[in-house]
């Protein structure tokens, strides 16, 4: 049984921290309007480029390897998600639990070796 009451301070913390951060962002915007530093112009609001207008859509194609890394991350992070409950319940599951997880880890090691061999981890 999860005691949700333990998490109430975290919820209150979220509200306070979010409010604090929002105040930090929006308060200076109000202050700038009052003091007169808020003075936008077309040049100022254009995106950063080294002194000339940007000539390319910034949301251009990017390297597919970022995508591969994200997929690999999902696999290994899921694996970690299986390991967490296993790590604290080894006293209950004993040797059968340990051996089962070793089989699972071995399969994932094979997966990692395959990705390695295929060059998914290469980055030139």
């Amino acid at each position: 049984m999860v005691d949700l009451e333990q998490y109430l301070p975290i919820l209150i913390f979220l509200l306070i921290a979010g409010g604090l951060s929002a105040a930090f962002v929006f308060l200076p915007m109000g202050v700038a309007r009052l003091t007169g530093t808020h003075n936008p112009s077309a040049e100022k609001l254009s995106e950063y480029e080294c002194g000339f207008p940007a000539f390319e859509d910034p949301r251009s194609q990017f390297d597919v390897r970022f995508y591969l890394i994200a997929i690999l991350f999902i696999i290994f992070d899921l694996e970690a998600a299986f390991l967490f409950p296993w790590a604290v319940s080894l006293d209950l599951t004993g040797w059968p639990g340990w051996i089962t997880m070793m089989v699972f880890l071995f399969e994932l090691a094979v997966g990692l070796a395959y990705a390695w061999k295929k060059g998914a981890l290469e980055w030139e």
């Binding site: 998490y7 975290i10 951060s21 962002v25 609001l45 254009s46 990017f62 992070d77 080894l90 980055w123």
Partner: protein, 348 residues
């Protein structure tokens, strides 16, 4: 603290609420102050290693430098680029800073001195630090500018790559401590080494994992030598390029709050947190939070030291280190440590 407010004549519910809010402010406000001071310390250490003086004009020894900087950015104009997605653009720094503060909810400052003593504290920290990548990616996307976009891609790939090995290192620690609760992990380190040293680092099987964790925490917080996300010669200022005023400062504050969190985690998971270094009665006279702060400061010095001395990695080297060295190594250690603990009857 609830009992104190109850003695002032409040009902239990209100007393609990006021005590919780007071506890939150007691964490958040000193944390912001600590971040301001630690930025100053960082600059001082960095300057000293380059035989410079560093900030020394504002206040005695330049101690008020960060506050002067803060006031300056507070009074600046917030520039929202016309091409940006305005809502997302302003939300990104809010997410970054909120998430950086929230992880501190489960950090134990002393025996029992923790805001939310949840039994899965370590999982909570892992989850919260994963959320940090949203602020970065959203800022890079919403800026609608080339450099922030590339930087956000890099940052996201870097953070998730090192999160994998951090996850496995945490499993090694949890295997030994038998709990996800940070207080229980600290208690498990009492007299761990030869019955006298408090800390998991004094353990031949966990010491390599600590080294992996330390280097991964540098990469996770994008500190030098892994600060490729803000490599100024390639990406100007990275995903912060289009930001100004306090929205820019929030990224900085969040980044340093995360660095402090990683230092705290190093101290808590491997160096006994609020326990003194040695399990020796006279050392317990010094309060636990002082020991914790001393350890955090020590690790922050290490972070600064690395920043001052180690040249920046190349991106392919960074990825190779994460996926081809740390991941297999930490996987092998999960097998080794769990096997060792099973064979020695640790769980019996």
């Amino acid at each position: 603290m609830t009992a104190f407010f109850e003695s002032l004549g409040m009902t239990y519910g209100w007393a609990w609420f006021v005590a919780t809010v007071a506890g939150i402010l007691l964490i958040a406000l000193p944390l912001m102050l600590a971040v301001a001071m630690i930025i100053y310390v960082d600059r001082k250490i960095w300057a000293a290693m380059a035989l410079r003086k560093g900030p020394n004009v504002v206040g005695p020894f330049g101690l008020l430098q960060s506050f002067a900087d803060g006031l300056k950015v507070f009074l600046q104009e917030t520039i929202v680029p016309s091409a940006a997605n305005k809502g997302l653009f302003l939300i990104a720094p809010i997410i970054t800073f909120t998430v950086a503060l929230m992880a501190w909810a489960v950090i134990p400052f002393n025996s029992g001195a923790v805001l939310a003593d949840i039994n899965v504290g370590l999982l909570y920290i892992l989850a919260i630090s994963s959320l940090g990548v949203y602020g970065v990616v959203i800022s890079g996307w919403a800026s609608n500018s080339k450099y922030p976009f590339f930087s956000a891609m890099r940052a996201a790939a870097q953070m998730i790559s090192y999160e994998v090995s951090i996850g496995f290192v945490l499993i090694c620690v949890v295997l030994w401590a038998g709990s996800f609760n940070l207080n229980a992990i600290i208690e498990a380190q009492r007299g761990h080494g030869l019955g006298i040293v408090n800390g998991f680092f004094f353990n031949l099987l966990l010491f390599p994992m600590w080294v992996v964790f330390l280097i991964s925490s540098l990469a996770e917080t994008a500190r030098a030598p892994f600060d490729l996300t803000e490599a100024e010669s390639e990406l100007v200022a990275g995903y912060q390029t289009e930001y100004s005023s306090m929205s820019f400062a929030l990224f900085w504050l969040g980044e340093y709050a995360n660095v402090l969190l990683m230092c705290a985690l190093n101290a808590i998971l491997f160096f006994g947190g609020w326990l003194p270094p040695l399990d020796w009665a006279p050392l317990y006279i010094i309060p636990g939070w002082l020991w914790l702060f001393a350890k955090i400061f020590f690790f922050f010095f290490v972070f600064s030291w690395v920043k001052a001395t180690v040249p920046r990695f190349r991106y392919d080297q960074l990825m190779r280190l994460g996926w081809k060295v740390f991941l297999p190594l930490s996987l092998i250690f999960v097998v080794l440590i769990s096997g060792y603990l099973m064979a020695t009857g640790h769980f019996a």
